[in-house]
Symmetry: C2
Subunit: 273 residues, 2 copies
Amino acid sequence: MTNNQLMSRLSLNQITTEQWNLQEAVEGCLRHDVPRISVWRHKIEEVGLKQASRLIKGAGLQVSSICRGGMFPAATAKERAERLDDNKRAVEEAAELDTDTLVLVCGPSADKDIDTARAQVAEGIDSLVPFAKDYGVKLAIEPLHPMFAADRSVINTMNQASTIAENYNQNEVGVIVDVYHVWWDPNLYAEIERAKGRILGFHVSDWKVPMADMFKGRFMMGDGVIEINRMRKAVEQAGYNGPIEVEIINQSLWDRAGDDVLQEVKQSFAKYV
Amino acid sequence: MTNNQLMSRLSLNQITTEQWNLQEAVEGCLRHDVPRISVWRHKIEEVGLKQASRLIKGAGLQVSSICRGGMFPAATAKERAERLDDNKRAVEEAAELDTDTLVLVCGPSADKDIDTARAQVAEGIDSLVPFAKDYGVKLAIEPLHPMFAADRSVINTMNQASTIAENYNQNEVGVIVDVYHVWWDPNLYAEIERAKGRILGFHVSDWKVPMADMFKGRFMMGDGVIEINRMRKAVEQAGYNGPIEVEIINQSLWDRAGDDVLQEVKQSFAKYV
């Protein structure tokens, strides 16, 4: 793959420039020749879906995914139904923004019972599939690092994500490979191969020691220990040649000018992805 | 199991009261009727092995394990040989203190190549086994949480630990089940069953959100989300009825009086383990 081909796959995951609102992010992408963006729902909410759609389409940007649906487990059936409704709104937003990929961060347990929470995730996805299919939107299960099992997602390995996804057609449910969440997995490359045909996204950042903050501690590609290039080649081997989202959640990046961040993103993307 | 039987299995892992030197920890165990202790090597070094042995045996305390050997991967063959020598000293210390269990924290990669690091762990253990066997000391591989893959251990699941252990006899190599490190694992209970006959220790603490510090952020049993009692019953089902070490690495506990900490340890052990 030439460098130009690689750069054409770059997508700015909007959380990387959390300091920008949607309009600023769209304009930033145009200024820096970034052809794609992954849009977060709290940024859509700020301007409303119609205006978000106008901004993005007017700029000719492609939307690689919507972040995020999920958060299925809850203590009561009523709450779980409300979560499902919210996921349906996320599907509608994805369709309106012309992306076929809704990223699912599946949610933590409401109590100590992690097995039940995992079952509720599977049930939630099962309930959402027909609705999403009507809109032409695929559900992309993103396994989160096991250190988030208590507060963000009880789906923590590629194995879990693929086991759920395989209950459905490839155009209904797939998985996201985010290097930060899965790089440690002893079965990583076998699981990437297994996910062939179901990989709906590839997210990059890096893991560096010491990590001051579990949530906002991700680093720029190349600054840490993750074999990003090896993983990129593995997902390509498994048939994935779609957008590559740069998703770096890091307070120190948010404290800088967005243009500086985006420039550095492009440089380290070209060098280390 | 009666409460008395359970309490007779309690072992103070010395890092829980890091503010105490070895003599203070031994005296604390006597004052609080804690029958066992897990000894850290930096605490032995402070007083010397002979004096450590006199203190512990004079008090009639049983040593549940020595923490810790391991740290096998390194960039050069010379460094790896030095690590192996250090592990042999740890075996000698275990034998001198009349414990048959040396806990292995296997070490991080020297660079980005995690596969090679994992191979170096397997090689290191293979080199250490005959030496340890001569001393009657078993090597207890402790899988560490995946969030420590970059800085403490590339062995991150029960599956990895058992896969290495199964190359040897049960009296040579086994595994440690530490609830903090493995509670998130979707295969946990199957892996505990698989480890039957090879479980050499059960360590308890708790995981609570938010976690301010990945290393020194462990909580008292009952304060977090881990199903400790369920896991204790599972390891018993798998034949383990030995010492249960309380290993809580938490700066706020170290800032308190050791006697207060030990009292609280006993209370939450009785209630939640």
